[in-house]
């Protein structure tokens, strides 16, 4: 099996290298065949690994020794357990769909081979991230996916907005990475190892210890470590206030928005926290912080989604909001529910993005929803799959999102942490907003009257099969994964030892008690019945009705409301002013400070004052001394005699 583990990332890396170096030579077809077969193989092998792990074969071992410092070995290695295997399947499956889709979407792009090289490389990096058995390799994968994300957002590098967005994405992520790296440094310092197994095993012994970060203040060690790690997760998984890069990342081609900025990379933070559950469980402070941050993201980002007009940006804000849901689940210690939602979300959100992409190519790269409408007839497959994705996202039973989202809401309800009150309000109200913006998108794009020009409308047609096939293949899990995996993932101990929950925080255990004794379809029906009676379901339906009323029945009404609520609309349109703030304070501030240090510090004080100052001093002294060399012999003779006298006096005295 070890060979298989190694093969999974390698069959993605090799095509990436070949496509990158020799893509120009082997041509488009060979490139995409190579990349697709590589990722397909990786997907097949991942499923094999998944089944093998379910059969009880887990693995934790070293691949190679990367380095050593102070006697501590730093190694690259794999940890293959149920959590890893789940992630592997999700990542490779979505990646495969996106690879196939790309053949259609990027057909006319001159950077075709480069694109395949990047997405194959991304799959490799993401696999290394989830398969790691230590913090170091995790960080490697973490930064590598960040790199590929940077390259792909800026894929169309002639577009000014794209290269601004990728720079922003990388820098904001780096802020998170700083926290992450400091967290890793503290882990190495206090645990003497970067190996998951070793760290998690000794974590309970270090609980309650204090650490002095800045002179005089004692802080709880576990809180400090987990907060720092979580800052990393906030960057990668785009949690407030480090979320600002994700909407702009939509400047990249749509396939990568689906793969990287919806399904996989942005969930790395969620995966990481779930993986670190033995550490996070040791600090309630951190769990509360996690829950608050998640709640803010889940609710407030959903609101921004209401006013977006760019189809991809609506989906992007939806992604932010859903990542917030997952984060809330993490804070509530419902790690399994978070991973469950991560998986279902990966399918239906990738589906929604790819459907949006299908619309975008049909309309010749038109992304403004105000210029769409009524596409249902022209694009039946896209329309149908978009409906499935939307129903799954909104949480209408029996679609996948219903189960995973309801599990999160139930878990928050049962949580006893201080922040769970806020979180419950946010995630419940969030359901209404989610439903509203989702159906707004659906109605504006596919229903109602057509708002595009004649030419575009006449040319609008269903995308080729390479585009619709992935849509259909993603629609299937968006329907079935929910009810198939609800019982094992939420009620069963699916992830086993990989996820550890302190008894006091075990919300999913308490949830299971409520359904005590029920199994299989009984459990599903009970969960469903409980769900449709609850507030979230009512909200979801209400959102549908309101959206229908506003965007199909009375299409003029949204404009009026928009004007009436001018102040709030402006806040939402400015996305709460995060961008303006960052641009002025951080980007501008750093440049102003740098300019100041350079012009004043280096040029004026050090060079002007010290260096050239001393040169001037030498100049003055030499000018003075030059006067002595008068050229008259009697001057010199006089000086010599004086000198002789002085010397004699000194020596005679001694």
């Amino acid at each position: 099996m070890q060979t298989v583990y190694l093969l999974v990332p390698l069959v993605c890396l090799v095509p990436a290298i070949i496509a990158g170096l020799f893509g120009w030579k082997i041509g488009r077809v060979a490139t995409h065949l190579l990349a697709i077969s590589g990722v397909a193989l990786a997907c097949g092998l991942s499923v094999w690994v998944f089944l093998d792990v379910l059969a009880g074969n887990e693995f934790n071992g070293t691949v190679y020794a990367w380095g050593v410092t102070g006697g501590i070995p730093l190694e690259m290695g794999f940890l293959i357990d149920r959590l890893t295997a789940t992630m592997m399947v999700v990542v490779t499956f979505v990646s495969l769909m996106v690879h196939i889709y790309t053949v259609g979407y990027m057909r006319e792009d001159p950077g075709y081979q480069r694109f395949f090289s990047y997405i194959a490389l991304f799959t490799f990096a993401m696999l290394m991230l989830v398969m790691s058995n230590n913090f170091l390799q995790l960080f490697f994968g973490w930064e590598a996916v960040g790199l590929v994300s940077y390259l792909l957002i800026g894929f169309w590098f002639q577009k000014e907005s794209a290269i601004a967005a990728n720079l922003k994405a990388f820098l904001v992520n780096r802020v998170g990475d700083l926290g992450f790296l400091l967290g890793i440094a503290l882990v190495l310092m206090h645990f003497g190892s970067l190996d998951y197994a070793a760290v998690f095993a000794s974590a309970p012994h270090l609980a309650g210890q204090n650490v002095e970060l800045f002179a005089g203040h004692g802080w709880d060690l576990m809180t400090v470590i987990t907060i720092l790690l979580f800052i990393g997760a906030m960057g990668k998984s785009a949690q407030v206030p480090l979320h600002v890069w994700l909407p702009d990342s939509m400047e990249g081609p749509t396939p990568i928005s689906a793969l990287i900025h919806a399904a996989t990379m942005v969930t790395a933070g969620i995966y990481m926290v779930a993986r670190m559950s033995p550490l996070f469980e040791l600090s309630e402070v951190t769990l509360n912080v996690v829950m608050v941050i998640g709640s803010l993201t889940a609710f407030f980002m959903a609101l921004v989604g209401l006013v977006q007009t760019d189809i991809k940006r609506v989906v992007a804000y939806s992604t932010l909001s859903q990542l917030g849901y997952m984060t809330v689940a993490l804070g509530a210690s419902a790690y399994s529910a978070a991973i469950f939602h991560l998986a279902t979300h990966a399918f239906f959100k990738a589906l929604l993005f790819l459907a949006a992409g299908s619309v975008i190519i049909a309309l010749h790269h038109q992304q403004d929803m105000r210029k769409m409408g009524g596409l249902r007839r022209a694009m039946p497959w896209t329309w149908l799959t978009a409906w499935i994705g939307t129903l799954a996202l909104v949480g209408i039973p029996p679609f996948a999102g219903f189960f995973s989202k309801d599990a999160i809401i139930e878990a928050v309800q049962l949580s006893q942490l201080g922040a769970s009150g806020i979180a419950l309000v946010a995630v419940t109200a969030g359901v209404f907003v989610t439903s509203l913006y989702s159906f707004r998108l659906l109605f504006l794009v596919f229903h109602g009257r057509t708002r595009m020009d004649e030419k575009t409308r006449d040319h609008a047609q269903e995308s080729p099969w390479v585009v619709t096939l992935p849509l259909v293949l993603l629609a299937i899990p968006s329907v079935i994964v929910g009810f198939l995996y609800l019982e094992p993932m939420v009620f069963g101990n699916f992830f086993g030892e990989a996820i550890q929950v302190a008894p006091a925080h075990d919300v999913l255990g308490r949830l299971a008690e409520e359904y005590h004794g029920k199994r299989g379809s009984d459990l599903l029906l009970a969960f469903l019945w409980h769900g449709v009676q609850g507030l979230p379901f009512l909200f979801a339906v209400a959102g549908l009705i309101v959206a229908w009323f506003l965007y199909l029945e009375k299409p003029d009404l949204p404009g009026v409301i928009h004007k009436r609520l001018g102040f709030f609309s402006r806040i939402l349109e400015h996305k709460y002013g995060f961008d303006e703030f960052n641009r002025f304070v951080f980007a501008g501030g750093a440049r102003r400070l740098g300019g100041l240090l350079w012009k004043i510090g280096d040029v004026r004080i050090i060079d002007g004052g010290l260096v050239n100052g001393s040169a001037r001093l030498v100049g003055w002294v030499s000018a003075a001394v030059r006067q002595v060399q008068s050229g008259f012999v009697y001057h010199y003779a006089f000086a010599m005699i004086i000198g002789l006298f002085v010397l004699l006096t000194l020596f005679l005295k001694l």
């Binding site: 590098f157 002639q158 820098l171 700083l178 440094a185 503290l186 310092m189």
Partner: protein, 495 residues
């Protein structure tokens, strides 16, 4: 084992003698002879350096490949050479980069070719001399002598403002060197007429003399590193120096200062090192943060990379003076890595300068459209300079941050700011120069890298990646020497 007994002398004098031979080819009509001969000498020297790695005993901290012959008997000065795990990688780096520099000059330098090549070869020998000298007088002679070729390279093949730059460079360095000479003379008398650097390690010294001597050597080494605030010669020197000069300056010369701290200051003045650690750490942290901010606003590509060098060298000195194994190993790895990365970045700027004859960022834009292969190389080096894992730039930064966190969380936080600031100035540079639409006719007419340029960039890229993906061999060869140095610096020498 005859060869191994004289191997250090061979690697020092082969390039020097080779350089003189190249010089004898004379005028530019015979430039091809000079080029091939020079390259041959450089490759031969590198080949001679390989046994230094393969026959090196990484399990011992003792000086290896030692040679000791009486040199000036009247002063008890010896021609004493030897290397340990600290100097060995630096020697390999030097001999490798000399090859790269000669390739980079191939079609670019057409004026006084033989002299140019000879200057680099002679400098290579002298620099290796500094890295392997174990006699203070010999060390000093190599140290001073190596400045002369550099001074000439900037002064003869440099840009329009080269005289100002080379004099600034010379004066800065001279001031430091003179204080170092005084300090060496003090040690000579204090040690009963000995110039043995290793002997100084065991010399008992009071705290006050230690501090004064520390500061005297500091003056020489800090200028070379360069540490804030004696860094302002570097951007000027880089801007005026030809590409090869910049490469050697950034990749090798700066390392000499840091090496001096390791070979002399830490083991000879351990008590002063501890007493002044706050001072060294403060200067290092200022360099890391202040200089990174300054790099952000540079409009000249070479100045930007020069400032980035200073910021990265701050990591080196920070790593040394937090006195733990992660920091010191990190500092050393950072020295090697920075040699490759800064060298590569100057090569990249050279590639563009040779075509457009401008270093101003605003004269570029959209280079990726016309030079895609070059853009890929530049991306790698820029990312390496931002400390991306998988490149050598990450290893040193990681270890220093790990070490700093153990000493003081605040140090780690400030040093870690480079994760953001470093990425900011590097990627913003990349955005403005490489990405975007074709900015002007110059960029539109650019030709992508030729085979020679691909070779030199590829050679460096290979090492940047290899060190990033598998730093174990390097870490293993330095660790025993670093451990020993940490023991030395932890033992008080107060009488």
């Amino acid at each position: 084992m005859q060869l191994l007994d004289y191997i250090l002398s061979l690697v020092i004098w082969t390039p020097v003698v080779g350089g003189l031979l190249v010089l004898s080819t004379g005028r530019d009509e015979r430039a091809p002879v000079a080029r091939w001969l020079g390259l041959g000498v450089a490759v031969l020297t590198f080949a001679l350096c390989l046994p230094l790695y393969f026959a090196f005993d990484a399990g011992s901290y003792l000086m290896q490949f030692q040679e000791r012959v009486s040199w000036i008997p009247a002063f008890h000065a010896y021609y004493h050479l030897g290397i340990d795990g600290i100097s060995m990688p630096l020697i390999l780096l030097t001999s490798f980069l000399t090859i790269v520099v000669l390739i980079s000059a191939w079609q670019v330098i057409t004026d006084r070719v033989a002299q140019y090549i000879a200057a680099f070869l002679i400098m290579e020998g002298l620099v290796i001399g500094v890295f392997s000298a174990l006699d203070a007088l010999l060390f000093y002679v190599f140290w001073e002598a190596m400045l002369i070729p550099m001074f000439l390279i900037i002064g003869i093949w440099g840009g329009p403002n080269r005289i100002y730059a080379s004099i600034k460079f010379f004066l800065y360095t001279l001031l430091g060197s003179l204080l170092m000479l005084v300090a060496i003379l003090y040690l000579y008398f204090a040690s009963d007429h000995s110039f043995s650097l290793l002997g100084y390690h065991d010399l008992a010294l009071g705290l006050q003399p230690q501090i004064l001597l520390f500061l005297a050597f500091f003056a020489a080494f800090a200028v070379k590193v360069p540490m804030w605030p004696v860094h302002t010669w570097l951007p000027d020197a880089h801007v005026e120096a030809p590409t090869g000069g910049s490469v050697i300056l950034a990749a090798i010369m700066l390392k000499l200062g840091a090496y001096g701290f390791l070979r002399i200051n830490l083991p000879t003045f351990p008590d002063a090192s501890h007493a002044l650690d706050w001072f060294m750490i403060s200067l290092s942290l200022i360099a890391i943060v202040y200089i990174a901010l300054v790099a952000l606003v540079q409009e000249d590509m070479k100045k930007l990379v020069a400032y980035s060098s200073i910021s990265h060298m701050g990591f080196v000195t920070l790593g040394f003076f937090i006195f733990n194994v992660h920091g010191m190993e990190g500092g050393l790895v950072q020295m090697i890595s920075h040699g490759f990365i800064s060298g590569a970045l100057f090569l990249c700027i050279g590639v563009m300068y040779d075509r457009v004859h401008s270093r101003r960022i605003s004269d570029y834009g959209g280079v990726a459209n016309t030079m895609p292969v070059f853009a890929a190389f530049m991306m790698l080096f820029v990312m390496a300079n931002s400390g991306l894992p998988g490149t050598s730039g990450f290893v040193g930064e990681l270890l220093v941050i790990l070490g700093a966190a153990q000493t003081n969380f605040l140090f780690a936080l400030l040093a870690g700011s480079t994760l953001v600031l470093g990425a900011a100035y590097n990627l913003w540079l990349y955005k403005r120069v490489i990405y975007g639409k074709v900015a002007n006719d110059n960029v539109a007419g650019l030709k992508d890298v030729n085979g020679r340029e691909m070779l030199m960039l590829g050679m460096v890229a290979l090492f940047v990646l290899a060190l990033g993906l598998w730093p174990l061999p390097l870490l293993e060869s330095i660790q025993v020497s670093v451990d020993h140095l940490l023991v030395q610096v932890s033992q008080s020498k107060l009488p």
